[in-house]
């Protein structure tokens, strides 16, 4: 084999790989849109499910999903601010900082079903909460913590020291510096992290399927201790009746709706980050 031949072989392998990967990815997106689009209508989005999901729409599933991630976001935001401020302002040893950051990143790699099992044992059996959407929110909040914390930490940590020194020179205390200098500057990072985490959390099934959701006969929750139905668990239930074309059709519709919600969150995050990178004048 001459060098030239090897080079040509490699070039064609690279191009072929890129073509295959692109086709697979485009095919995937097209499938979701082409299969889902016929099911989507205003009725589908605003009507409750009937006949075990094979009829009707997905109104309560959308509401359930949104309530759960919204409450999870409210629970996790103060924690994320606290932990990232702790990491950037209070931990002085570089070694310790590295250990904590690695721990946070590793927490991101914990299989999502582990969180669900923890919720089942600790809350549902241990504390006797029963199947409750609020427990689901707590578990989702725990899963979202590393993503938001890391994003917030990176923004706050990249604020130049001179900002802090200026604040102290003006006679501000540490807490005043945090409230009036660091938090406003770190806000962008927190929002970007939150949006990325929301995009992931709203599609999660494994952590909530034992602890927070019921399949049929569920409407909007009236108390903390009630189950809800969510888009991912609804798709799961419909996928298991894949032999029923009507159920499958609704499953594709729910999948496209979920996909649009995910895309909404991640596109907003992308735009937010792009603006942040552009407008960074620190």
């Amino acid at each position: 084999m001459t060098r030239q031949f090897k080079s040509r072989l490699f070039n064609s392998a690279v191009v072929a790989a890129l073509l295959i990967a692109t086709c697979v990815m485009i095919g995937l997106i097209m499938t979701i849109f082409i299969k889902g689009a016929p099911a989507i209508s205003l009725d589908f989005i605003t009507a409750p499910a009937q006949n075990f999901g094979a009829g009707g729409g997905i109104a309560y599933q959308i509401i359930g999903s949104l309530i759960m991630v919204a409450v999870a976001a409210c629970l996790v935001m103060p924690m994320a601010f606290g932990v990232s401020l702790y990491l950037s302002e209070f931990v002085t040893s570089a070694h310790m900082k590295k250990i904590l950051l690695t721990a946070l990143l590793t927490l991101n790699g914990v299989p999502s079903i582990t969180f669900g099992i923890f919720g089942l044992i600790f809350f549902v059996y241990g504390l006797g909460t029963g199947i409750s959407w609020f427990v689901g929110s707590i578990i989702l909040a725990m899963m979202m913590l590393p993503t938001i914390t890391l994003s917030t930490y990176q923004t706050i940590n990249s604020i130049p020291t001179i900002y802090r020194e200026n604040a102290y020179a003006l006679g501000m205390s540490q807490s005043q510096t945090i409230w009036h200098v660091l938090l406003p500057q770190g806000f962008h990072g927190a929002v970007t992290g939150l949006l990325i985490a929301l995009a992931r959390a709203i599609g999660e099934t494994a952590p909530i399927m034992f602890i927070a959701t019921a399949f049929s006969g569920v409407s909007a929750p009236r108390g903390l201790n009630e189950p809800v139905s969510t888009l991912p668990t609804h798709i799961l239930a419909l996928a298991q009746q894949a032999t029923n074309p009507q159920a499958l059709q609704n499953g594709w519709g729910a999948a496209l709706t979920l996909m649009c919600l995910v895309l909404f969150f991640s596109l907003t995050a992308l735009i937010f980050r792009y603006k942040l990178q552009k407008g960074q004048t620190l």
Partner: protein, 303 residues
Amino acid sequence: MSTQPDIAPRWPTFFFKRVGVTRLAIYTSVAVSALSILAICLTLILNGLPILGQGGIHLLTSDWNPASGHYGILPMLYGTVTVALIAMLIAAPLGILSAIAISEYLPRAFRIPVKAALELLAGIPSIIYGLIGIALLAPFLSDVFDLQSGRTIFAGGILLAVMILPTIVTLSEDALHNIPHVYRETGAGLGYYRYEIIKDILWPIAKSDIIGAMLLALGRALGETMAVMLVIGSIDRIPSPLTNILSPGQTITSKLGREISETAFGSPHFQALIFMALILLVIAVVLTASAQFMTKTETRLVD
């Protein structure tokens, strides 16, 4: 911040002045986060390890039958490892070559939109992959290979491969893109083909980062539940021969997803399931943590 009027120091006022509300809030949130991580580990250990006391050796058999008290976890371990290996065998070469294409072959202007698209693709929820798998991939496989059911270990592997592909591509591309341009120019100046620049100059530098990306993807593949659960077939059996991946199987995650909510809390059956969850957690944590150590870019690159 408003200043408080100085009255006789009662306890809350005294406490807040000494510690500070801000500090208190920060410490509380750190404590709550740390405690919840601790709670996860303790809960799994306390509920999973007791099974070892009741004849732990039985766990390493291939017979899972709760009715007769047999909890052999080998079929689930086999399924988990096999599915992840199939996924890596498909996704790793495809992903690395695509990353090379994006970083070294495509014009620079393509990079940002491609990266954005990859990020969006990596965010597709796994349940949607599961729906595609059960509605399209499984019937397709059963047609092609003339099987009774397309719900097989192979189907799980293919789905996982597609799921982890965006992650592998984007992380490998980062590793290559981070190498300064002067390295490529030097290679070209020495008369290297582009292929030789990549093989002899870029690959040795980017290798550890790319391996890190693989470990991260492997960890994700092992812990994935929904997509695998729907297409794997859920039968607790090691196929014979071992390489017969066109037969149904079971992974740890699919077993947990199917059974845990129908199992009595505290029973040996429950403990055996939690024990498997614990194994999975340890593997995933080790993989993710070692991925962090691989991706330390402390090599001194000349810019």
